[in-house]
């Protein structure tokens, strides 16, 4: 059921604009966006309720604890109060963050902050998970870990859209959308798209030519 779709594009390809559209920070007059079957324009509340988001910029309150940050988000999504502690524990467990629940965000390293945001994006049990360049600024180990974790989430049934400009985060079995100058340049299984070339080389050859 789940799938991992990587949205690959060089800087300036239009990834961030697309993310803003998908999260309803921007609205377009043309076309329609459906999230888990709900039209974002016509029933934004239902659509947004099914969408989990990890933004490129960090959106945690530095002086609040992991628990407080997640609790704030749970309330923003109108989750029943009685369920919130259980959901927070479950989300933190999933990402191995439970023992840090009472630490302030300021005291966490970049990788743990990102995992907190990932845990937060899962709290309301979304059908679709959108991650906007979630590995920016992380060291290699954290990057690998987050990439693996989100691939696992896709295996468990989540529909993941992962934007990136780094080819090594994409696996052959992933769906791949390549965005360049605001247009879809390729769409298919990453393994099929790259053919015999390593993905990094394929990507460079295609995006450099047309620059």
């Amino acid at each position: 059921m789940g799938s991992f779709c990587a949205l690959l594009g060089p800087n300036g390809a239009g990834k961030s604009t697309l993310v803003s559209l998908l999260t309803r920070l921007l609205v377009t007059s043309e076309g329609a966006i459906h999230i888990a079957g709900h039209n974002l324009d016509k029933s934004p509340r239902r659509a947004l309720a099914r969408l989990g988001i990890v933004f490129q910029q960090q959106t945690l309150d530095m002086d609040l604890t992991v628990n407080q940050n997640l609790g704030y988000f749970a309330a923003l999504h109108g989750l029943p109060r009685s369920e919130v502690p259980r959901r927070i524990d479950a989300a933190l467990d999933k990402l191995g963050m439970r023992d840090r629940a009472n630490e302030k965000i300021r005291e966490l390293n970049g990788g743990h902050r990102r995992r907190t945001e990932l845990a937060r994006s899962l709290l309301h049990d979304p059908a679709v998970l959108l991650l906007d360049e979630p590995t920016v600024g992380l060291d290699a180990a954290s990057r690998r870990k987050i990439t693996d974790e989100v691939h696992d989430l896709a295996k468990e049934g989540l529909c993941v859209l992962w934007t990136t400009h780094l080819t090594d985060e994409i696996r052959d079995a992933d769906n791949l959308l390549v965005l360049h100058h605001g247009k879809v340049m390729a769409n298919g299984k990453a393994g099929d798209v790259r053919g015999n070339l390593p993905l990094a080389e394929w990507f460079l050859s295609r995006t450099e030519d047309s620059k």
Partner: protein, 263 residues
């Protein structure tokens, strides 16, 4: 999706926690009116002769006169600071988090406004307590009666800040807001001098002051502190509040606002 009050509680709670963690900001917000009260007013009292005007029933010192204006100033600065916070939040992304909540945007923004108005009120009461400790006292019940006026003024000025924040493209422009919005609004009001004094100098300035919604926020606070009801002030503040709210929500409509702001 039934928990509208839950959203309000969470947003106000977050504002409150942020406020507690920013003690410097609290002190700065408190020092400003105190400087006006104990230094400016002390120097100025001799220069300005006040006649007896409502709601006062006897001659008052200049310090007593400017206390309500300074209360309004605290609310004004806090509302603007909170709008600065919104621009910052938008750049840092936490505004995005708020706006992607499935609850209607106007409700999210309103809760945020209410949160910052409550923080302003805490600051005002601290200021009033200090003033009282130095002998500038209001009728005891006035401290309670002023609460609705403070809340309404807080929402009005917060909504004005919200509207500005939807128009400001960058954080740096905030200095411009200080010069072109906060100071003119403050000085062209009855906060520091009664409007009839202004009329003696310039009819035009007096008329501008008489249109300034901040003047009415000051008067609403002044009259309620003395347990008197000022219907025209209340009406002006109510109308301004609704107008500012409507414009601010319009400014944050996803179909515009962010589109223009982002580029």
């Amino acid at each position: 999706m039934t928990s509208w009050p839950g959203v309000m509680r969470a947003i106000i709670g977050r504002e409150f926690l942020r406020f507690i963690h920013q003690r410097e900001r609290f002190l700065a917000a408190l020092v400003r009116p105190l400087v006006w009260l104990f230094i400016f007013a002390a120097g100025f009292r001799a220069a300005l002769g006040l006649s007896i005007i409502p709601p006062y029933q006897t001659y008052i010192t200049y310090e007593t006169y400017i206390v309500p204006g300074l209360c309004a100033m605290v609310v004004l600065f806090n509302g603007m600071q909170s709008s600065l916070g919104l621009v910052y939040d938008r750049e840092m992304g936490s505004m995005r988090l708020l706006l992607t909540s499935p609850f209607p945007r106007w409700w999210l923004l309103f809760c945020r406004l209410l949160g910052s108005a409550i923080i302003s009120i805490l600051q005002v009461y601290t200021f009033l307590a200090i003033a009282r400790a130095f002998g500038i006292a209001m009728p005891p019940l006035g401290y309670l009666a002023v609460l609705p006026g403070l809340l309404l003024s807080g929402i009005m000025l917060g909504a004005m800040g919200l509207l500005l924040s939807s128009l400001i493209r960058q954080l740096e422009n905030f200095a411009g807001v200080m010069n072109f919005v906060i100071f003119p609004m403050f000085f062209m009001s009855s906060a520091l001098y009664p409007l009839w004094k202004m009329a003696e100098s310039s009819r035009l300035l007096h008329d501008i002051c008489a249109l300034n919604p901040f003047t009415y926020a000051v008067e609403l606070i002044r009259f309620s502190l003395y347990l008197e009801f000022n219907a025209s002030a209340l009406l002006w503040v109510l109308i301004s509040t609704f107008a500012m709210l409507a414009l601010a929500f319009w400014g944050y409509d996803p179909a515009r606002g962010q589109t223009r702001v982002k580029r």
